[in-house]
């Protein structure tokens, strides 16, 4: 059975005033890039909230502004209008409680895998001693299945392994928020499914609040507990699908009737988003 679906505009669970129960709050965010051909509006009134420990997937047409959204959450850019709140604080700039991983794993070729994973701790002040930090890095690497590769160079690893290492680097400083921008986009289907399961394993041991950008609908319902569909550029929140789960998910769950229906809804929403950039309200 498919859970409650709602278009945006219906009463959200955004609490007014006091209790800021959501770890990430994106409120009416608008943003435009200044280009040679004039301003290019990219985000147009985004509303997304993610509770602590939640995992939201963001899907939308190519070029609609998903990466822009991640840069706003990370504090790498400021929105023209609207606000981004993390932990009840307005985001004004980069903060060390955020971890990021991209489609391109961007590992530093001149460092070993272990040293790559440890990189954030050279920036972020940490209570860990050198030994503790190294132990933690080794633990994370073993968690994603990279035991024994600590002293290898990135060039000696496959694409999937590099992505795993990049994930460890994003987690080493115990961030509250993990931002993943199409991290598995460049991987083959089998490696990708492997990494989905790794993600579940990681989340169990290393709790975080996650934002996952993806163009793979199956990935979104397998990993996230909420899928946000963005409209075409300029993007606004077009549709939100809750993906409740009872107990751990398995790949088999993707082949049930429930999953098929969820995927159908999302596919339909994406088609709307691709077709008319402003349509979408009150669908399904």
């Amino acid at each position: 059975m498919v859970s409650d679906q709602r278009g945006v505009g219906c009463a959200g669970d955004t609490g007014f005033g006091g209790g800021m129960q959501n770890l990430i709050e994106i409120k009416g965010v608008k943003h435009a890039y200044q280009t040679d051909a004039g301003p290019l509006p990219v985000l147009d009134g985004l509303e997304i909230s993610v509770p602590e420990g939640g995992f939201v997937a963001v899907v939308g047409p190519s070029g609609c502004g998903k990466s822009t959204l991640t840069r706003l959450i990370a504090g790498l850019m400021k929105p023209d209008e609207g606000e981004v709140w993390l932990h009840g604080e307005k985001v004004k700039g980069p903060r060390s409680t955020v971890g990021m991983a991209f489609q391109n794993p961007v590992l530093l070729e001149w460092r070993t895998i272990l040293k790559n994973v440890l990189l954030p701790l050279e920036i972020v002040p940490s209570k860990l001693s050198r030994k503790q930090a190294e132990d933690r890095a080794r633990f994370l690497l073993s968690l994603v299945g990279l035991e024994g590769f600590e002293d290898k160079r990135p060039s000696e690893l496959s694409g999937g392994m590099r992505q795993r290492a990049s994930l460890c680097r994003a987690l080493i400083h115990q961030p509250d928020v993990l931002i993943l921008d199409e991290p598995f986009g460049a991987l083959d289907a089998f490696t990708r499914e492997d990494l989905w399961q790794t993600m579940h394993r990681v989340k169990e041991r290393e709790p975080f609040t996650g934002v996952l950008i993806t163009h793979d609908l199956r990935e979104s319902i397998f990993l996230a507990d909420q899928v946000v569909v963005l409209s075409g550029r300029p993007a606004r929140t077009q549709y939100v699908l809750d993906v409740p789960s009872s107990g751990p998910r398995t790949l088999e769950d993707l082949y049930t009737a429930v999953a098929a229906e969820q995927l159908n809804i999302l596919r339909h929403q994406i088609q709307i988003a691709q077709g008319r950039s402003t349509a979408g309200e009150g669908a399904a």
């Binding site: 980069p94 903060r95 070729e109 001149w110 990189l119 920036i123």
Partner: protein
């Protein structure tokens, strides 16, 4: 094992074959000494002028190295300015390309006249002028083509621009830098010799070459060429060794 022996033996055989062919060519054509020198003429030429080779060789060497050193400093600085600022790149690039397009042989008399008598200075200046271009270009390209994700990884944690430069931008540019340095070291060497030959002032291997020329002393001229080749090879492989140390990670595994 076998591989190491081959890496050593093959070049040596190639050199011996080359020298033998050269010797044979001179003998076969019956060229006299004032027309062409044979390899067998070289050891006596070295022996006769050995102290000169040592002192002149040293002069050529240090002026080249100083010129190259200045080129590295200036080129890196210029490359950083152009790599970080789009505006500065647009402004400086045409100037730089134009400057580089001028054949440096035409600059020699100008420099020689401007700084008449200051032999060390104008030789170093020419070595510098001819060799900073590839360094500046490579550093600027290395910095400006850094994928934004590399910056974002550190910037999202609140790292400063300086930290990003030291931890990521600089090491990432090193392979390109050393590639350019290999070109620059050869160019600096050409610059030094150009000044020594075109504007003779009795210093450096270039001057020795020139004196050989005025006396039609072919063995001496060829001996100078060999000495220049030797110095050039030494400088080149010093750069290669430095590259192995600082940017060895960029080397692709063979095969």
């Amino acid at each position: 094992m076998n591989k190491h022996i081959r890496a050593f033996v093959v070049p040596v055989i190639a050199v011996v074959v080359f020298l033998a062919f050269w010797e044979w060519l001179v003998w076969f054509n019956g060229w006299p000494r004032f027309k062409m020198a044979a390899p067998s003429d070289l050891p006596p030429a070295f022996e006769r002028h050995w102290p000169l080779f040592l002192s002149m060789g040293w002069q050529t060497l240090w002026r080249t190295v100083v010129g190259l050193f200045l080129a590295v400093l200036f080129g890196t600085l210029l490359g950083m300015i152009m790599g970080f600022s789009r505006t500065m790149r647009d402004a400086l690039y045409p100037l730089l390309v134009g400057f580089n397009a001028i054949p440096k042989a035409t600059v020699v008399p100008i420099v020689a006249l401007m700084f008449v008598g200051q032999h060390d200075f104008n030789t170093v200046l020419l070595a510098f002028m001819i060799s900073f271009f590839p360094i500046a270009v490579s550093v600027s390209i290395g910095l400006s083509t850094l994928e934004p994700e590399y910056r974002d990884i550190l910037r999202s944690l609140g790292a400063s621009q300086a930290t990003i430069f030291w931890k990521i931008a600089l090491p990432k540019t090193l392979p390109e830098f050393f590639g350019a340095l290999k070109v620059a070291v050869t160019l600096a060497f050409i610059g030094t010799n150009l000044m020594e030959i075109v504007s003779p002032h009795g210093r450096g291997l270039g001057a020795l070459f020139d004196s050989g020329r005025t006396n039609s002393d072919f063995p001496l001229m060829f001996a100078v060429l060999i000495a220049l080749a030797f110095l050039g090879i030494v400088l080149y492989y010093i750069v290669v060794a430095l590259e192995k140390i600082f940017a060895g990670w960029a080397e692709r595994a063979p095969g």
